[in-house]
Amino acid sequence: MSYSGVYSGLYARIRDYAELLDDVLINIKAGRSSPSDSRRQQLAQLFLGASVSTGSNLSIQLFKVFLRDAYDLDQKHLTEIGQALLSVSVGSNIVDRLERFAHALENERAGMLAKMRGHD
């Protein structure tokens, strides 16, 4: 049985999602990204996987839970974001949503870090 330790695995997941999201955002905003970029595809698959009701991939299940906790998006919006990331042009409305989610995920990361340190 662990207390702070139970959060450390989750912390690593959130940190990885946050890094992925920021990497993709920077490249999209800089205009140096394409749908074939592996990181962008990885993020797209997370959003598309989270948009279906069931799934067998733990990473997607956790992403879905964090999305729901941090940023209340319905399945339709998740699909829109996922499909936009796989298309040539990512609209500014999608970038705005990704920015808001990145901010929410940062709060989730900081909160999980506090739990890891026993501050919760």
């Binding site: 662990s2 207390y3 330790g5 450390s8 920021d22 920077i26 956790l62 900081a110 890891m116 026993g118």
Partner: protein, 385 residues
């Protein structure tokens, strides 16, 4: 903010270099993996810091939110490396060395398929593990006693679930995902029932909290408990009883407002007892069960109706069975009445001794621990004092 971030980055680079210099060079080889992990992770953060400070793109105003989040992640990462990894290396002492040897022996006994974690006695919060550092933390004096050491087996299971691209542990992870799918289907079915019932709002909200808890925490905890129950046997059930009796709260707790990190103690015990039944430790499972029922009576604990809905028997049994299939699938050793491995035997014997003569146990334990850690033999046998 550009000036602040550049200055802070320079200061953090220096901190990273100081941390690298703090890695001791004279520790036993058991610590090499942790030292390498710390060194590698510091270097990754130094690369991020250089990018943050020097990349002209990142210094443009429209990238400041991303740059600031990167900065916060770097600070957090260096904090973890310093307070967890480097601290464990810097303060490693003879107690740590002994526990590292013990964990290595346990790993060999149970055919643990990953690198054995490094142990440190720096924990301030009972047993816990940092899977991505492969560092297991135990309280300062816990290595001098035997009754809680079964929790080492629980902690060993966490990295099995977080390891990536390792076909050896994939059967265990596949069973975990199947069990999680079972749990989510169950919650989904309950939600559908609620929707049809058009009842009050709270039960639907409750189900959402449970769903989140299953995904984030509970299935992981059940799998780790059950891995320990299958590889160690009754001693783990007793250890769970011991922990609940000493530090537990409501054994039938059901989260109402927000998800909890651990399932209810009684649900965990039910899963562990089912695993002992499957492993044919029926007599010992019955003894643990009797003691557990007595404990529940003593603390006047009674389950609310929602408790059984939260942790239904059929789901607990399915999880226990799936964990067993996963342990078998990755070819770890499942223990039985015939298992004679020395550490396994000692930890189970400790509980037998404890119940046979609780008042005399401390004397026996002292001698057993001395022989365990003082022995130069890699496989000491511990018998009656």
């Amino acid at each position: 903010m550009d000036g602040y971030l550049s200055g802070a980055a320079s200061q953090l680079m220096e901190r990273g270099r100081v941390l690298t210099a703090k890695i001791p060079r004279d520790l036993p080889r058991d610590y090499d993996t942790l030292a390498q992990t710390c060194r590698k992770r510091i270097n990754i953060q130094l690369e991020h810091l250089h990018a943050m400070a020097d990349d002209p793109l990142l210094r443009e105003s429209k990238y400041q939110p991303e740059r600031f989040r990167l900065f916060k992640r770097i600070v957090a990462e260096l904090d973890i490396i310093e307070t967890v990894g480097i601290a464990a290396l810097d303060r490693a002492n003879s107690d740590d060395h002994k526990l590292n040897e013990l964990l290595e022996r346990i790993a060999r006994e149970i055919h643990y398929p990953l690198e054995t974690p490094v142990v440190t006695t720096l924990s301030q919060q009972y047993f816990h593990i940092y899977p991505d550092m492969n560092l297991l933390c135990v309280p300062l004096t816990e290595g001098r006693f035997l009754l809680h050491l079964p929790d080492l087996y629980h902690e060993l299971a966490h990295p099995l679930l977080s390891a990536q691209n390792d076909p050896i542990v994939e059967p265990f992870q596949a069973q975990f995902l199947s069990a999680l799918s079972d749990a989510l289907k169950y919650v989904s079915t309950e939600k559908s029932k609620e929707d049809r019932r058009r009842g009050p709002r709270q039960p639907g909200y409750l189900l959402q909290i449970w769903e989140i808890a299953w995904v984030k925490y509970w299935m992981t905890e059940f799998f780790c408990d059950l891995f320990a129950a299958y590889t160690l046997g009754p001693a783990f059930a007793w250890s769970h009883f011991h922990l609940a009796a000493k530090r537990g709260s409501d054994p039938f707790h059901v989260p109402i407002n927000r998800s909890t990190s651990h399932p209810a103690d009684d649900a965990r015990m039910r899963a562990i007892l089912h695993a002992l039944d499957i492993s044919r430790f029926k007599d010992q499972a019955a003894k643990v069960h009797e003691c557990w029922r007595s404990y529940l009576l003593q603390c006047a604990a009674r389950p609310e109706p929602e408790y059984h809905r939260c942790y239904p028997d059929h789901l607990i049994r399915t999880i226990a069975e799936r964990t067993r299939d996963g342990v078998i699938g990755m070819q770890a050793r499942i223990c039985s009445e015939d298992t004679k491995d020395p550490i396994h035997a000692l930890l189970n014997e400790a509980w037998i001794k404890f119940w046979a003569a609780p008042d005399c146990y401390v004397t026996w334990e002292k001698q057993a621990v001395n022989r365990l850690f003082d022995s130069r033999s890699p496989t000491p046998t511990i018998h009656d004092s």
